[in-house]
């Protein structure tokens, strides 16, 4: 209908169909946000571990490799639990499709799982290991393993996810790095904690900064991240992440705070745990925001009538 022609029928409500959703909410179960977390932990820990190996910090390297190995072991178990049975995971290894972040991710997870297992094994067996191709491969596959899960959600028809496509991977990268630093801090000896502390603080600040930018660019679509369950997770993520960063800063021996060794260590551990919790909450916030957005037909309509991001 051309704009000059006037409709015989005046525009009447409903402009939505009984308020029902236009796109379907995800069918993903709670395993999936935890998978986002463990995939991020595995990927960032592999990079951290490789860096520690090459920087000749064996105590940190061994612990970070253990974290990476834990992450790549738990990740496929979570996916299989979501799918229902193990053979269903194998169905994803019959094709490789670059149009599907799910397909790319399945291969990344499988490949990174292999590389990380080898690198972790070598580092745990040989304390003096200097690093080589397995470490490089595990790190090279680990970084995308941590960020592809952001592509997984933004490559979708759900407005609050899709329109965040330029920022979400950076949120995930920062969140993954914060979780890897948090996990490492729980186990690393105090004299090798310095790079972990720096990384944790940097990642935490980056996570909150990029999240704020993402929400700003999303405009009204950001409501999905601020309301309801997602909003509560978002608030919890912010509190934990910034709290963890503050604990990391306060526990820095370079600061002239009147803390004993034991207190300092307890503060570091608390910071590590907070960063891990913050990372879990951040993925849950993103996950829940997708449901909120999908269930609101006006988001679909408005984002298509007045695109944010094209």
């Amino acid at each position: 209908m051309s704009p000059r022609e006037k409709s015989l029928v005046p525009r009447e409500k409903p402009t939505t169909y009984y308020g029902r959703p236009i796109v379907k909410p995800p069918v993903w179960k709670p395993e999936i946000p935890f998978y986002f977390f463990f995939g991020g932990l595995a990927g960032a820990s592999a990079v951290l571990a490789a860096a520690a190996t090459f920087a000749d910090r064996p105590a940190l390297a061994r612990r970070a490799w253990a974290g990476a190995f834990l992450g790549v072991t738990v990740s496929p178990l979570l996916l299989i639990k979501d799918l229902g049975k193990p053979s269903r995971f194998l169905n994803m290894l019959r094709v490789f499709k670059v149009t599907s972040p799910m397909s790319v991710g399945a291969w990344l997870l499988a490949a990174n799982g292999g590389a990380t297992t080898v690198a972790a094994g070598l580092n745990l067996l040989d304390e003096d290991r200097r690093g080589g191709p397995p470490e490089i491969l595990a790190a090279a596959l680990g970084a995308p393993l941590a960020t592809y899960t952001a592509a997984l959600v933004t490559h979708s028809a759900i407005p609050a996810w899709s329109e965040a496509r330029n920022e979400m991977p950076f949120v995930f990268a920062a969140s993954a790095t914060a979780s890897a630093a948090g996990a490492a801090m729980l186990t690393v000896p105090a004299d090798e904690a310095e790079p972990v502390r720096r990384l944790g603080v940097l990642a935490a600040v980056a996570e909150e900064g990029v999240s704020a930018l993402m929400h700003k660019r999303l405009g009204s679509l950001a409501d999905s991240y601020k309301q309801g369950t997602a909003g509560r997770f978002e608030k919890a993520a912010r509190a934990c992440t910034l709290g963890g960063a503050a604990a990391f800063v306060a526990s820095d021996p370079a600061l002239p705070l009147p803390l004993g060794r034991r207190r300092r260590s307890a503060l570091s551990m608390t910071g590590g745990a907070l960063l891990l919790a913050g990372s879990v909450c951040k993925r849950w916030a993103v996950f829940k925001a997708g449901f909120h957005s999908a269930e609101d037909p006006s988001q679909v309509i408005e984002s298509q009538r007045a695109p944010v991001n094209r």
């Binding site: 409709s7 029928v9 402009t15 910090r57 959600v153 991977p169 950076f170 298509q304």
Partner: protein, 290 residues
Amino acid sequence: MAAYAVETPRVGFFTDTSVCIGCKACEVACKEWNKVPADNQGLLGSSYDNSGELGADRWRHVAFIEQKLPVGVEGGAPDDLVAEAARQNLVEEGLDPHADEDGFRWLMSSDVCKHCTEAGCLDACPTGSLFRTEFGTVVVQEDICNGCGYCVVSCPFGVLDQREGDGRVWKCTLCYDRLQGDMEPACAQACPTDSIQFGELDELRERAAARVETLHERGRPEARLYGEDPDDGVGGFGAFFLLLDEPETYRLPPDPVVPTRFAGSVWKAAGAAAVTMAAGIAAGFLGGRR
């Protein structure tokens, strides 16, 4: 992308909602032929629509929209008077099946999978379960589907869904089995008013353009085609519609775009974030090297 040249001509549906009478024969025929399990048995409180939406167990869905029209001439500007008079004449001539004298109209529309030229579900499927048939339609192979649910969030129309207790995803096959037997899909065959028309897509598009023109001539300028344009965000629908109101009134997205169109920026951002992360972590070790 997902489309490729096929030997057999591409087929699809043209659903002309201006002649839909809401009988739901399409829903029933689809369920029977495809052995789709029963789903909602209750009342939804949305006019005569008690089946809700397309999903794993509903591959045709008839929407009922109740709209009140202004009665007579109250408060109408001059061209509204003309328009209203024209509409009343149409009613008397029996050309307007959905409006009557009390100023109420029903919009009815049988929704279905759009069998997009650039299908988000097909692009997203990590197993190869979703594929494009020789007829240009998009079909799920249930023995390969692993229930990952990625197609569910990749469809701009909310067509696909997971079947409860099964975990796999099911949707309209455009009666793939019947097509192979040179029969038209069950819904189209069952439709008593030819609201659902099956055929070669090119021919359907011509037919639809002519129908819109006819409706415009008869004083229904609100009639418009939805999804017939090969230049739209999904490269055109294999199953397109003639609507009498905005798409969102029918629970249809006004300007759907397949997520794959944004794959470039999605991967660029993910790659840049991965590189930034690796560089950031490596930099964390520079200062304090022993």
